[in-house]
């Protein structure tokens, strides 16, 4: 089995605020990330696919296909966007990097069928990073 990892970058803003907490609790839990105006990050995304090497191409999967999938389904959606405004994902869910990482895993796993999507790693800053794998791969 070979694990191939591809890195991407997107820049987005968010605000950490839970509708289930009071104003005071939100401020206590999220601190400056609760600023109502939002703030932004350069997110680094790494998508890992796993598989055997195709003997005809020497590849696990064609990178240009992975790139175009991620570009159309992740980067076009999140780059230079405000994550809280994403009507489908973050109306009731706080766009913490944990939740963003898991949402990206779900989108890529659900739509990219050329290889097994094994892991999504998301760096919010150079100091914070998150990774999500399915239970069986941990």
């Amino acid at each position: 089995m070979i694990y191939l990892t591809r890195g991407y970058l997107f820049c987005a803003s968010h605000r950490l605020h839970s509708g289930r907490l009071s104003e005071e609790e939100n401020w206590r839990v999220y601190g400056k990330c609760n600023n109502p105006h939002g703030h932004g990050h350069n997110y680094r995304l790494e998508v890992t696919v796993a598989g055997e090497i195709d003997s005809s191409t020497g590849m696990v999967c064609n990178l240009s296909e992975l790139d175009s999938f991620v570009e159309q389904n992740i980067l076009d959606r999140f780059d230079h966007a405000h994550l809280n405004r994403d009507q489908e994902l973050f109306t009731d869910t706080v766009p913490t990097s944990e939740n963003v990482c898991r949402a990206i895993f779900g989108i890529v796993k659900g739509g990219f069928k050329r290889a097994k999507v094994q892991k999504v790693w998301l760096g919010e800053t150079s100091l914070n990073s998150f990774e999500y794998l399915e239970e069986a791969d941990r």
């Binding site: 089995m1 070979i2 191939l4 990892t5 890195g7 090497i53 005809s56 191409t57 020497g58 240009s64």
Partner: protein, 136 residues
């Protein structure tokens, strides 16, 4: 305990499968199909697993590992046109995947102490592959 050593080498390659038509080669491999080749600065991370020796406190002697990496990888790949100059890649496409497996094969029998755990090969900062040996 896992110990990782990093090296860098620069080499050129191109992707072409003679069993496919020129059109198919261009469709599958895109600009990587240019027969004149193109190059990368590869970064290789070699991870060895073992217990620290009670006398030396080390998983393995880094000097010996460095010598193995120099002999088995640097002298084979650095500043070479992989398709033409590296044994095995006249008939095999030098994708990052195939290079990682080949490097595993070169290093695995030569690790002086401990056990080779992982080979991670970066073609660029945005593309790398991990190989843990056959069946893993």
């Amino acid at each position: 305990m896992y110990l990782t050593r990093k090296i860098e080498f620069s080499a050129s390659h191109y992707y072409h499968n003679p069993a496919l038509s020129p059109e198919e080669n261009r469709r599958i491999f895109g600009k990587c199909n240019n027969p004149n080749g193109h190059g990368h600065n590869y970064t290789l991370e070699v991870t060895v697993q073992g217990e620290p020796d009670p006398v030396t406190g080390m998983v393995l002697d880094l000097k010996e590992l460095k010598a193995v990496l120099e002999r088995e990888v640097m002298q084979v790949f650095d500043h070479k046109f992989i398709n033409r100059e590296v044994p095995g890649f006249q008939a095999k496409i030098p994708t990052t995947e195939n290079l990682a497996v080949a490097i595993w094969g070169l290093l695995q029998p030569k690790i002086p102490q401990g056990r080779l755990h992982r080979v991670r090969l970066y073609e660029t900062p945005d593309l790398f592959v991990d190989y843990y040996g056959e069946g893993k």
